[in-house]
Amino acid sequence: MRVGVIGVGCSKFGRRDDVTIQELSYEAVKEALEDAGIAQDDIDLSVVGSVNTRGYELMPAVPVNEYCGFEDRGPFRVEAACATGTAAIYAACTSIASGMADVAIAIGVEKMTEIETAVSLAIGGRAGNYLWEFHQYGTTFPGYYAMHATAHMARYGTTEEQLAKVAVKAHGNAVKNPKAHFQKEITVEDVLNSRYIAYPLKLYDCSPISDGSAAAILASEERIRELGIDNVVWIESAGYASDTSNMTNRESFVGLKAAVMAADMAYRKAGIDNPVKEIDLAAVHDCFTIAEIMAYEDLRFCRKGEGGRLVENGDTEIGGKLPVNTFGGLKAKGHPLGATGVAMVYEVVKQLREEAGRLQVDLRSNRALIHNIGGTGHFAFVMIFRR
């Protein structure tokens, strides 16, 4: 059974002191319903994707669902750390593909700014295995990715300048995205001169602590026909894999094995041999600049070790061989955990429908990819969308 995306919505990302988690969620839900041209009554099931270990509402599914007008259908809540949003999409998709629902909404939402930064870091540092990592060693989330960065730099000669280039590209795109957290262009020097968060990652190598929401409405092919909707982006394939909670049990630190496995699964199901030629754009998980470079390699956009050069050459800019993170990425658009994966779907749907305005890329194969990582490769989702 084919499953299509019929409506998407996304809030402004950033520091959202003006709204509660419920109010924030409704911004995206309202936009998605209007986009699909349907009402709450047309939806059978809602999935709320939210980590919400930082917001005041620790079990947010029910209050969020009620505020959005779905109090009598759903919700169920999913959590996959930073890949929570795509887990919500995946759950909505499988509920339709299995015949349990005809129309489902995935709501991704996160309020991260309600607590102080040191506490937020201590929560993020628990994204692996608390007892054997954070408790003893203080593994912060930037620290996890920083360890991958030092391993990648030692093995392949990747440089801090190449990492910086990822951030510069992200900010360059984000200034044209009114919903992005950051609205400021930066230079390689700005990144290199910013203070270390976790060596070798500096302030501008890191995605910000953001609030935000995104929503996507999915439906079966049959129901789409009944509703008379023709502006559909189809889910062509999905790959999902996971890896160990302890970093010490990983095979290497120069890439994420779960991402490689998820990509292989998604490519195989979609019949993709050469992603650079067969997809038009990608939204990849760039919570830290090193993450985007590893994503290029794990997704086979380039050979292992050449990720730094790929961004340096401009190949992943809009107009390049394969535009990546055209809306500014997690790095500059923002990374409200539960919202991120759903916002990636929002991005590729807007692009595939040629509604991306100043950020529009040229479409040739009408295919786009999302790559959403939870933790440091603890969860990995890769999905292919097609117009």
Binding site: A118, G124, N129, Q136, Y199, M247
Partner: protein
């Protein structure tokens, strides 16, 4: 406009009986892994249960390890009340990798293992560059 939430304090009591050998070992300067007598798998962090169902034995980790990744954490999370940055490294010792704190390490450095307590009184692994 904001209102303050009520305070929520969470401190957990973590049962470590099945890995007590490891935690007591740290206080005596020893770091243990487990090894399965049935299938030969080695575990670090140590696991009391091998998923093959076999019985595990406790084996001390010593000798030299090689650093595969490291970072120095400058932005310090709550729970680690200290003013100085700290360096976390992962080093391979034979079949297992170990996480520890170290000073001035790089990828490829050879290290030896020791144990110690940090400012918060938590016992853990430290590495010394050879």
């Amino acid at each position: 406009m904001f209102i303050e939430s009520r305070e929520l304090v969470m401190r957990h009591r973590i049962p470590v009986s099945k890995t007590a050998k490891f935690w007591k070992g740290l206080e005596r300067g020893k770091v243990y892994k487990t090894a399965c007598r049935e299938c030969g798998r080695e575990y670090y962090p140590p696991k009391a249960d091998c998923f093959c169902g076999g019985e595990v034995e406790w084996v001390e980790i010593d000798g030299r390890g090689v650093v595969e990744a490291f970072t120095t954490v400058y932005t310090i999370p709550s729970g680690f009340e200290r003013s100085r940055p700290y360096t976390i490294a992962i080093a391979r010792f034979g079949k297992v990798r170990v996480m520890g704190w170290a000073d001035d390490v790089s990828v490829g450095d050879e290290v030896t293992i020791r144990t110690g307590q940090d400012e918060n009184g938590v016992w853990k692994v430290y590495f010394e560059v050879v």
